[in-house]
Structures are given as structure tokens and as C-alpha cells.
Symmetry: C2
Subunit: 384 residues, 2 copies
């Protein structure tokens, strides 16, 4: 589910943090931007040490695990949208406030850390970005050291608490960012909305899987809340709130964010089935093997139920099983022949057009429009 | 671990919420106080509905489960200490600010909900206060409805997300309480410290259990962070921070909070072994059966290792097993004969004296001193 929105560079190298950083006017997607976010996060983790250390080395170790997890994170997509939202609403990157804004935007990476750490427990994922997931890391430590009790339960327990810590620290970073009180007061309700929405989206996701909901509507709703609202819409809205943007610009941002966010997820779904493993870094057809409940699959099932019962049967009996290369090829052909791929491409095109139109006709600054157009196209036309 | 600090009434009945509520100057421990906290929580949950409902009935259901969990909660101990801390530092219950202060204090109940819901997953607890725990509730729904996948994993997954929601909403309630910006700025770092400490305390607890740490120091450190800081010290500190209390009063509150909080836990440990099941509501000697790593047990093991190897062997081989009534009686006698019970009683007395002395010589208001004295004695001398 977690794929960077732009094909930017890898984990940025650490550069020294200075208050002047923010004045470099970092442009989202550039190494300067990811480095500036990284600096804010490094600074924040340093402020936690005096709270963590009195509890002793075991807790220091857990906090370090969280820090490593966050600092090796990807493209800083959510902070990038938040920062762009602020700039586009007239935020001045040369103002004294800019550093505080960037810090508040960076807090999104801590919410994301909680979401990923807890998601990995829920999905029983063993690795993430080539590293053991947090619960597996602590499960392995337990096993290696021969501690008592169940190693897997221990790992999950520690990861629950480390995820909680990330969520609590996200708020702490918002509070400590140094936003003016009026900006913080505008920020808080959007922040609240976003956190509730992403948790709700995750809940709908696991519920849909348990219930076996195959509808297009269910898949779209999960995309809306678990991905679009959380990754694009609310980050832009947060930036706009800090800048005291007017209703119209917020509405334009939200339309853009919802449409581009959903389109991004639909592209991700297509890549999960048709993507080149050399480019995506994931085995070919991995989503089919995992049985991911995507709009693509829901659309295919809807069509197959109406016109081709044997295709419907094939999809239902093979998706989510241990598929060979030939099976994947066959399922790809079925999805294409049913017209589901074209339908999803059509949705992506429509959503992208609508999202871009909302931004074009908005009062966002020309530079932000340009930036958002680039981010939207990178997210919806990408091949990886 | 979670035992009310005072033998107050049960779940308060709901009374209509009006802005005038706070002006009743509710006294902690009284039904009026618990009802006033309840009102703030009910009001807050109502404000979440417009955010929750657009996601549909599945999420509404989960949010309802959280609301029921929180509203059936106990004595509102943490809000009571926070409110008393504020009053004792000169907070005026007749001021316009009082309602906001009570709302901010009530947010502690949402942190507590997260802690309990996640703790119940970690401890594999099946019931709490006579109800199925949240993860068991959703496990049972899964089973009853014949959904696909593992019911226990589904239950734990939903409970992880509902606990996260509680933690996020705790912050949302703080932000939405309406504290003046300067008060909120003083509140935030203490709030941050408290959340980090309780998560650290929980982590130390599960780590100590896995590692088999039998030391008195380890048990005391867990008491300090998992119970004392979180239940008494930081709540008082939060109240003091809102009221802009001076350093000396904050120091006195913190000494009182740490000492009384630890003494409370030591009393709880004694009751877990020697308490009358008719009064505690738990089976006699339950902590022995569960193998809870208490200061009492650590002290007994330390003494037995030095003077009575056969007692040490008995303790290590029987604690944490399925004990009969005779075994419990025998273990009680061993703990007493080793002098561990007297030692814990001595610690309770010393801590209580020191905590009360700190408050007596502080600048807290006479009413707050009286109130805190009563709360301290109820917590450390109680029989249930």
C-alpha cells in the first residue's frame, strides 16, 4: 500500500541542521526538501532524549528503533504536500515562521510511522523497505536472547507500544514546532480530522477483508480515507490552514487531494498487477498473490458476474493463492479482457483531469500550481 | 494493574451537560466530579460524530465501542488529580476558564483508554470490569458472523486501531478544550512527558517479564513510570501547569505524586496477594497465580536468596502457576516469614509520610492539601 508518490531520490543524507535551512525554500521532491524534513525530525528526536533516558537503556533502545525507522523513511510525500499547500496559500518561505511550518509538516512522518508499524502487525508483514518490520525485529531479539514467553507476541507487543509512541510524538512535534497560537488553532481540527480518517480507513480495510466485501464502492471508500485524505487532501489542507487560506482555496485543495490521491492509488493497483518488477522492485503480480482488494479487482468481478461466470469463478478461486508466472499472465489477460483495466485507466484520467482543473482555477500561487501539477502527474502516470 | 485510587461510587449516571457544570466546583471523588468528567467526555464524543459518520457504519461501530469503553470507566482518578492540582495552584473553579480546564483534565481518560485497550492485547486479557476486552469483543463478532481469516488476529487488529483512535482523540480533546494559548503551551510539554513515560513504563514491564528481571529496582522503576508518574505525578503537574504554578509547588506535587503513586502500587501488590476477595472482587492470591512481578515478590526473592534457598526455590517454581487455595496460603506465609510484607509496609509508610510532608509544606491551597491528604490515605491504606 505504501508507495512513494514521486520517483525521487532515496533516503536523503543527513546535513547539519540550522535555523537557516528553512530559508533555502526547499522545493518538494528535491533532495534539499527531504534533507530539510530529515533535519527537523533529527532535531525533534534529540529533544525526546532527556525524557527517554531516565527510564533506562531498554526504553532508549525502543526509542532508537523508532528513530531509525522514521529517519530511513522515503520521499516525505505528506510533508511535501503540506508544505506546498502552505506555499500555495501565500506562505512565505523567507518568513520567520517558515521553520515552524516545516517542523509541523514533518510531524506527518510520525503519524505515518505509527500507521506503518501498526499496519505491519495487522498485515503480518515481515519486511519493509528491505528491513525487518518493527515487530519482527523485536521478535528476533527475543528469540536470539532466549527470553521467556512467546517471541512473536513479545515482538507485536513492543511494536504496538512503539507505534503508540510515534503517534504521541507526532502530536508533541506539532506542539513543539513553534507555530503561532492562531495558526496552531487552525491546524488542530484538520490534524484531528486526518488522524481519525486514516484510522477509519485502516479499519474499513481490515473489516472489508474479513467480511469479503467485493464492491467497487467499498474499495473506493478505503482508497479515499486510507490513502487520498491522508496522503494528499489533508496534508494540503493542513498547509492551507496554517496560512489562513480562504474557503475556496481549501475546497480546491481538497478536490485536488481527493481526486489525485484516489488516482494515485488506482495507478498503484495497476502497477501491483502489471508493473515491471525491475522498476517496481516487487515480484510481478504481487497484489494478485496477496489477494489485495483493489478497485481493479472489484471492477473485474462486477463485470465478470454480469457477463462471464467462468472468469468470475477463476478470479475468486485464484486471487490470493500462491500463483505461478503463468497464472499471473492468465489473470492479467482476464482483467484486461473484462475491460477492468480500461475502466480503471479511465477513472485515473477523469480524476486527474478533475483534480488538475480544481487547482488550475484556484487562487493558489503559480509556483504551487506548477508544483502540484508535477506531483499529480508523477503520482498518476508513474511506472514504479 | 488498574485499580481505582479511591473507593468512590461506580460508573456515574449521566446528567445533562451545561456550561454551568464546571461552576458546581465538583470535588474529586464525589459523584458530582465523576459526572462532570463524564459530561465532558460525552460532549467530546458528540463532536467526533461528524468526522466518523462519513466513513460509514463499520467505523461508527468501532467509535461506539470506544465511547462505551470510556464512558463505563471508573473513578476518573487521573482527571481528579489534575483538577486538584489546578485548584491547589490557585485555579478558580468559578472562572470562565474552569470548563476548559475540566475538559483538558478529562482527556487523561482517553490516554487511559488507549493504555488499557493495548495493555489488554499485550496481556491477553479476556475481560475487564466484567465486560469482554475490546479485542475479545471484536474477535467474538468475527467468530459469530463467520467472517474469513483468523478471529483472534482480527480482534487484536481492530483493538490496535481503536486504541490508536483513543490516543489521537486524547490530543484532540486537549486541543478542543478551549484552554488559553499560554496555558496550552505550558500544558503541552508535561502532557508529552506523561505520554512518553507511561509508554516507557509499559515497555519496561513487558521487557522485564521477558528477561525475567527479579530485582527490586526494576519493579520500582516500572511502578514509578507505569503507575506513579502517569496516575498521580503528571496529572497534578498538568493541573499546576495550566494554573502557571511556581517551581516549588510543582516540585512538591511531583514528590507527592511519585511517592504516593508508588505507595499506591505497593498497596495494590499487597492486596493482590492478601486481599479479601469479597472486598477486592478478585480471586484470592490472584497476583501469585498470574506471576505478577511485584516489589513484594522481588523483595521476598532477594531475602530468600540470601537466607533461605528452599523458600527461594518454592517461590520460583510455584509463582505463576495454577495454584490451589492451600498453595496460596503457604506462599502467603513464606512472603510474611521472609519479612517481605513488613518491608513493603515500611516502604508504603515512608513514601506516604514523605509525600504528605511535601504537600504540607507546599504553597498549595488549604482545601487542596486536605483533598490530597484524603486521596493519599485512600490510596495507600485501602483494603480494596
Amino acid at each position: 500500500m505504501e508507495v512513494p508518490l514521486s520517483a525521487g531520490p532515496g533516503t536523503p543524507t543527513r546535513t547539519p541542521a540550522t535555523p537557516a535551512d528553512a530559508r533555502r525554500t526547499p522545493i518538494p521532491g528535491t533532495p534539499e526538501f527531504t534533507a530539510a524534513v530529515q533535519d527537523r525530525l533529527v532535531e525533534f528526536f534529540a529533544t525526546r532524549r532527556p525524557i527517554v533516558e531516565p527510564l533506562g537503556p531498554v526504553f532508549v533502545d525502543a526509542a532508537d528503533a523508532l528513530e531509525r525507522f522514521v529517519l530511513r523513511g522515503g520521499k516525505r510525500t505528506r510533508p511535501a504536500f503540506a508544505w506546498t499547500g502552505w506555499l500555495g496559500a501565500g506562505g512565505d518561505p523567507d518568513s520567520a515562521e517558515a521553520g515552524a511550518v516545516l517542523a509541523a509538516c514533518s510531524a506527518l512522518e510520525l503519524v505515518q510511522a505509527c500507521a506503518l508499524i501498526h499496519d505491519d502487525i495487522i498485515d503480518s508483514s515481515r519486511t519493509r523497505r528491505g528491513f525487518a518490520t518493527v515487530h519482527v525485529d523485536f521478535e528476533q531479539r527475543h528469540g536470539e536472547r532466549g527470553w521467556s514467553g512467546d517471541a512473536a507476541h513479545f515482538g507485536a507487543s513492543v511494536a504496538i507500544l512503539i507505534g503508540d509512541l510515534a503517534l504521541a510524538w507526532a502530536d508533541d512535534l506539532v506542539h513543539a514546532a513553534g507555530l503561532p497560537p492562531a495558526a496552531l488553532a487552525r491546524f488542530a481540527p484538520v490534524w484531528a480530522q486526518m488522524r481519525t480518517e486514516v484510522l477509519g480507513g485502516q479499519l474499513l480495510d481490515i473489516n472489508g477483508e474479513a467480511v469479503g466485501d467485493e464492491s467497487v464502492e467499498a474499495a473506493l471508500r478505503i482508497n479515499r480515507y486510507k490513502t487520498a485524505a491522508y496522503t494528499v487532501e489533508r496534508p494540503l489542507h493542513l498547509g492551507a490552514a496554517i496560512a489562513a487560506a480562504d474557503r475556496d482555496l481549501i475546497a480546491a485543495y481538497r478536490t485536488f487531494g481527493t481526486d489525485i490521491g484516489v488516482a494515485f492509488q488506482l495507478r498503484d493497483d495497476l502497477l501491483g498487477v502489471f508493473g515491471d518488477p525491475e522498476v517496481t522492485g516487487k515480484p510481478s503480480g504481487d497484489d494478485l498473490r496477496e489477494g489485495k482488494r483493489t478497485v481493479l479487482l472489484a471492477e473485474a468481478l462486477r463485470r465478470a458476474d454480469a457477463t462471464d461466470p467462468s472468469a468470475a469463478h477463476l478470479l475468486r478461486t485464484s486471487i490470493g493463492t500462491d500463483l505461478g508466472a503463468d497464472d499471473v499472465t492468465r489473470l492479467r489477460a482476464v482483467l484486461t479482457e473484462l475491460g477492468a483495466v480500461d475502466e480503471v485507466e479511465r477513472r485515473i484520467a477523469d480524476l486527474t483531469d478533475r483534480g488538475l482543473a480544481a487547482i488550475d482555477s484556484s487562487s493558489a500561487t503559480p509556483a504551487a500550481k506548477e508544483q502540484l501539477r508535477g506531483m499529480a502527474l508523477a503520482a498518476t502516470r508513474r511506472t514504479a
